[in-house]
């Protein structure tokens, strides 16, 4: 009967319900009354639904099995002003984001400095500086390697040539950690690292060195800032930024965990 009712008299569903619950308007009530006088199905539904409603409303509620009174005052959620740990969390998150940005910038800088062309120039510059200083930096791995080659040609011709093409390797392929251990890479290849465009010409070193390095041999005691120094400083900065970022991230995780636990 319900399906038939739904199909034929669905527009009276709400009116029947409103009528039963006493919230029907006068106009709708009059319309429903007219319909009920001619529709036996709807009249029967109204009567039965009224009885169901009475039965349901006569049902007492089930007694609560126990008291649900709170044994203690739980921590409340303050929605008015962020404060306390929330403020601390927000500032720590900001600091972490800033540290992460610095870290990304430093990584980018490092990548730029260790790109193939930069490595070539850096290696040549590294080679040139100790050559002029005549082995004044015995502990420097990069300098030591380059010094061995440069001292053999102390007559100033500086004809450091590229190795034969079979030995010449593109720097990154030989270097497991670009920019970290260039000296080892140089020893492995037993040649000076030169970019492809440079090796194809086998030019004298002077023609590919930066102008001031090629034209002005360094004076004794005048130690120019080398790429090695820059790289070391960059590595320290990277390490520091990584540590700061990691510590901040760890603090944020701990603070978040603690605040959720308290909540």
């Amino acid at each position: 009967m319900m399906n038939i009712f739904s199909n034929r008299h669905s527009k009276y569903e709400m009116l029947l319900t409103e009528h039963l619950d006493g919230v029907i308007s006068a106009d709708d009530d009059a319309r429903l009354t007219r319909h009920l006088s001619t529709c036996r199905d709807c009249a029967a539904d109204l009567r039965e639904q009224s009885q169901i409603r009475t039965l349901l409303r006569a049902q007492p509620l089930v007694a609560a099995p126990r008291s649900f009174a709170l044994p203690y005052a739980p921590r409340t959620v303050d929605t008015s002003e962020p404060g306390g740990i929330t403020k601390l969390l927000r500032s720590m998150q900001m600091a972490t984001a800033a540290a992460a940005m610095v870290l990304v910038a430093l990584v980018g800088l490092n990548v730029m400095q260790t790109s193939p062309t930069a490595v070539t120039q850096t290696s040549l510059a590294d080679a040139a500086a100790p050559m002029a200083e005549s082995s004044t930096a015995p502990d420097d791995r990069i300098g030591a390697t380059a010094t061995g080659e440069a001292t053999e040609e102390a007559d100033g011709t500086m004809t450091m040539m590229a190795a034969p093409s079979t030995d010449t390797q593109f720097a990154p392929s030989m270097e497991p950690f670009p920019g970290i251990d260039v000296g080892v890479t140089e020893r492995m290849s037993d040649t000076t690292l030169i970019s492809p465009e440079v090796t194809s010409k086998t030019e004298p070193l002077a023609s590919v060195l930066p102008g001031d390095l090629a034209s002005e041999p360094a004076l004794a005691g005048d130690t120019p800032p080398t790429a090695t120094d820059d790289r070391t400083a960059l590595e320290w900065a990277l390490l520091a930024a990584s540590l700061v970022t990691a510590l901040l991230a760890l603090s944020v995780v701990a603070a978040t965990w603690r605040s959720r636990r308290l909540a």
Partner: protein
């Protein structure tokens, strides 16, 4: 503990509730527990009808009151009963929708437990009358529990707990039209499910079918 006073008018009850809310917001757990005492039965019954599991309903009711206290600053006035029951309904709905609940509810039959004649017990009732009322109550609850979730909550709110359409609409989040439609369909279905009750009940006229 503050005992809920017997208030004659809904307005007076509302004023008293707002006082309790204000005190609870200042950390007065006794004032909040007065609210709990007032509404714990309807909160438990709503959860029980929605979840059909007394143990789960107990947990949800307790969680709801904890949540209500913690979030009391989010209460923006109006019917405190509706606000509390909305928390109960939402929490119960979350459980109904959880995969874990769907897995277990299909496997386990449940019993409400307690004294089956409890709500119907009357000192003047004869034992046979008590048994008859208890059986009617059991059948009615069983029939309600067979309704679809959306019809069951509306029938529970409007018929069992005798709330108006607006309150039911607020608590369920459904429109007024949807509430009326679900109520109509729920009652229609109960009419068929409760045929046996007409044979037992002496208080309700037998429908002509």
């Amino acid at each position: 503990m503050t005992t809920p006073p017997q208030l004659d008018s809904p307005d007076a009850a509302g004023v008293q509730e707002q006082t309790w809310v204000a005190q609870a917001l200042e950390g007065d757990i006794v004032a909040f527990n007065a609210i709990v005492e007032r509404y714990q039965q309807i909160a438990y019954n709503l959860s029980l009808r929605m979840l059909r599991d007394p143990s789960l309903a107990e947990d949800v009711t307790q969680e709801a009151f904890f949540s209500a206290y913690r979030n009391l600053s989010r209460y923006r006035g109006g019917s405190l009963k509706s606000w509390l029951l909305t928390i109960v309904a939402n929490r119960s709905r979350d459980i109904l929708r959880s995969p874990a609940h769907k897995r277990t509810s299909s496997l386990e039959a449940y019993t409400e437990g307690g004294d089956p004649a409890g709500p119907w017990r009357h000192p003047d009732d004869l034992p046979e009358e008590q048994a008859e009322r208890a059986e009617t109550s059991r059948l009615v609850r069983k029939a309600i529990d067979q309704l679809p979730d959306d019809q069951r909550i509306v029938v529970t709110l409007v018929d069992l707990q005798q709330m108006d359409y607006e309150e039911a609409s607020r608590i369920t989040g459904a429109s007024l039209g949807t509430v009326k439609s679900r109520l109509f369909r729920g009652r229609q279905r109960l009419k068929d499910l409760l045929r046996p009750v007409w044979e037992l009940s002496t208080d309700v006229d037998r429908p002509s079918s």
